[in-house]
């Protein structure tokens, strides 16, 4: 193979970069992670400040434009997005058919988002047209909750609920999902969860979206690909595991304390603990823990909070896990939070995708602004040249 000058220039052309670990592929102004300090920032703003002081719509604007919107900019952006929430009936028809057949919500979301390109009014805009690309991104993000919430309804045999323009992004999702307007604590909690998951540096699904975008494919292809990558068990599936664990305690005869002691004695894996980057408590986990407490107070049911607190206390106080760099991650609390919001466990990863779509789109827009096709090299290690034998001599 011929790659002009690459081996000389890099001095590393023959070294296999497994998983591309540590290989610097792009610069980005979007988010930064300090795993030692347990810190995540979006464009310089601490994730905890953003979660407490802004909405998901403001964070989307921030990620895509570089700065937080003022009130006029926010109103324009949020109103335009709210007006784009409806999807064509053909999407509901397809989702209903997928629901009857028992498709997983993550795969249904992948199909549903792929269908959304059909109604893109600016499909012919040039890839260089950043303003048009942002509007396309806004349309996708506007419609994902409509697809996801209504898939959950349709598979339960219920009629779809049309989105409401007068509700915030998070509240509208919960409204469509349940058919009832959520209370303030629920809406605020869900909004925070969306903010916390909106971006996280260069993870595998974000990189997938960037590779697709680097061919100048459209955002629908990039987001559909990101959903596919996030569906993998090495990437997006862990918050579902946590709630299954907590429900296992509920169904057992054990107290949470007895259960966690038994798990540790059996050397069992504890879902929601440890993170590739964070070596201390994930900043997103801290915020969701506080909201789990708020939700428990609001509905007078603190069972999940007691479970998570008992497990955390035991692992931190008795087992010193945080000193060993193993701490609760965002999934440890998001599962319990979503459970209290009445969301099915197999919809947690699709919700992650719904939120992260904002990050995927931001990274694709940023990358395409100085685009270069992403195409690493493979090394052929197969057979030497050989002749094709006739079929009766094989």
């Amino acid at each position: 193979m011929f790659f002009p000058g690459s081996s000389k220039r890099l001095g590393m052309a023959d070294e296999l970069q497994k998983g591309l670990e540590g290989v610097l592929v792009a610069e980005s102004e979007m988010s930064d992670i300090d795993g030692e300090a347990g810190r995540l920032v979006y464009r310089g703003y601490d994730i905890e400040d953003l979660a407490r002081e802004t909405t998901y719509e403001e964070v989307l604007y921030l990620l895509w434009h570089g700065d937080l919107p003022d009130s006029d900019e926010l109103a324009d952006f949020a109103d335009a997005m709210a007006a784009e929430r409806a999807v064509d009936d053909r999407v509901f028809d397809t989702l209903a058919a997928l629901g009857e057949a028992g498709e997983s919500p993550m795969a249904a979301l992948r199909t549903g988002v792929s269908m959304l390109s059909t109604d893109e009014p600016e499909a012919d805009a040039e890839p260089e047209d950043l303003a048009a690309a942002r509007r396309k991104g806004r349309r996708i993000v506007a419609k994902i909750p409509t697809v996801l919430a209504n898939y959950d309804r349709l598979r339960r045999g219920e009629d779809p609920v049309e989105p409401r323009e007068d509700l915030g992004y998070a509240a509208n999702f919960l409204y469509m999902l349940t058919g009832a307007e959520p209370d303030d604590v629920a809406a605020e909690t869900f909004d925070m969860a969306l903010i916390l998951h909106a971006d996280h540096g260069l993870n595998a699904s974000t990189f997938t979206a960037m590779v697709i975008g680097s061919t100048l494919a459209d955002l629908y292809s990039a987001v559909t690909g990101g959903i596919g990558a996030l569906s993998g068990s090495l990437h997006g599936g862990a918050n579902q595991d946590v709630i299954e664990t907590l429900l296992e305690i509920e169904e057992s005869d054990l107290t949470a304390q007895e259960w966690i002691e038994q798990q540790v004695a059996n050397d069992a894996r504890i879902p929601g603990w440890g993170h590739r980057v964070y070596k201390t408590k994930d900043p997103r986990a801290k915020i969701l823990e506080a909201k789990l407490s708020d939700l428990s107070e609001a509905d007078g049911d603190d069972q999940m909070l007691r479970y998570t607190s008992t497990i955390e206390n035991y692992l931190v106080e008795e087992k010193n896990l945080i000193e060993k760099g193993i701490a609760p991650n965002v999934d440890f609390y998001s599962g319990a939070v979503y459970h209290k919001l009445g969301i099915s466990a197999d919809t947690y990863t699709p919700i992650f995708a719904m939120s992260r779509a904002g990050g995927w789109i931001g990274h694709v827009l940023e990358y395409q602004a100085e685009n270069r096709l992403i195409r690493p090299r493979g090394r052929y290690t197969g057979p030497s040249p050989r002749d094709v034998p006739p079929i009766d001599e094989r």
Copy 2:
């Protein structure tokens, strides 16, 4: 960010690898390209030998298993695949709705393939189960022609045609597309075109499929992502450009000679010439040129062949382009070939995807056998830590 040892080990952690050009991400036994010699091999076999002496089914078996099948293995593989060609009616319903709305065939294929996971009988197989993964791959490849050919029918307002098990892979596609069994030259030509596009080292769509597969996402997600990447104008769209050029000559008052002289005089881009890797005539172009000649002889219409020959003669003889490393690539002939087979121009890239799905699946299976999550690094270049201003102070 913390990446253990990477900067020391690689000595390159701070060097931006634009487009990952030259960065070695994987070893593969599947295909090798010698751009200087104009040579492409699949597992050691020259692409020209494979095109002339085997079928697409044999090449799929070769790519996925490492060796060409004997007659029993081929019969088992091809029969099983033929039996899996039918898709559920819900896929046709969705395609019909997309067709009514005027969706592009490439986007419709992305949605249609995404839907196929709904009927995967081994969805719960472990990612490590290579035999199950191959069967999943076989089901996807079996069904893509049914999706694509019938999308073309449905958007024309025609009824879908069910696949026929008794026809070969290529012939069955043309049968569904046109409703009539193709003659031998057409079937053989299309089979060759599928073989020629089945794999091509580590291109952007193959890499996309591998990144998605590296999260242990399923093959439906990987192939859907590959289709998205191939839809980008920097990757898969060129053969459509070629035929549009040739039809432009037909509609003009110019001869092909006059037209190409004018294009060159105007310094216009000539689609189908030049290739990132091949610096001499693309081996795939040679084979398709011969088949274009066969097709022209069979139907007594050599207009397209005269156009391509005139252009090629002029650019090679008068302009010495091949000496400058610019030669006809596969797209220069595939467009004319597909045109003569009666296929719409906007279906050429989807046909590329149909064929390349075999390569995508092979690379994902190969990569997952020694899997490592693909996750390069980004460098944060955004604002320093800052406080969130209240909205009325922004």
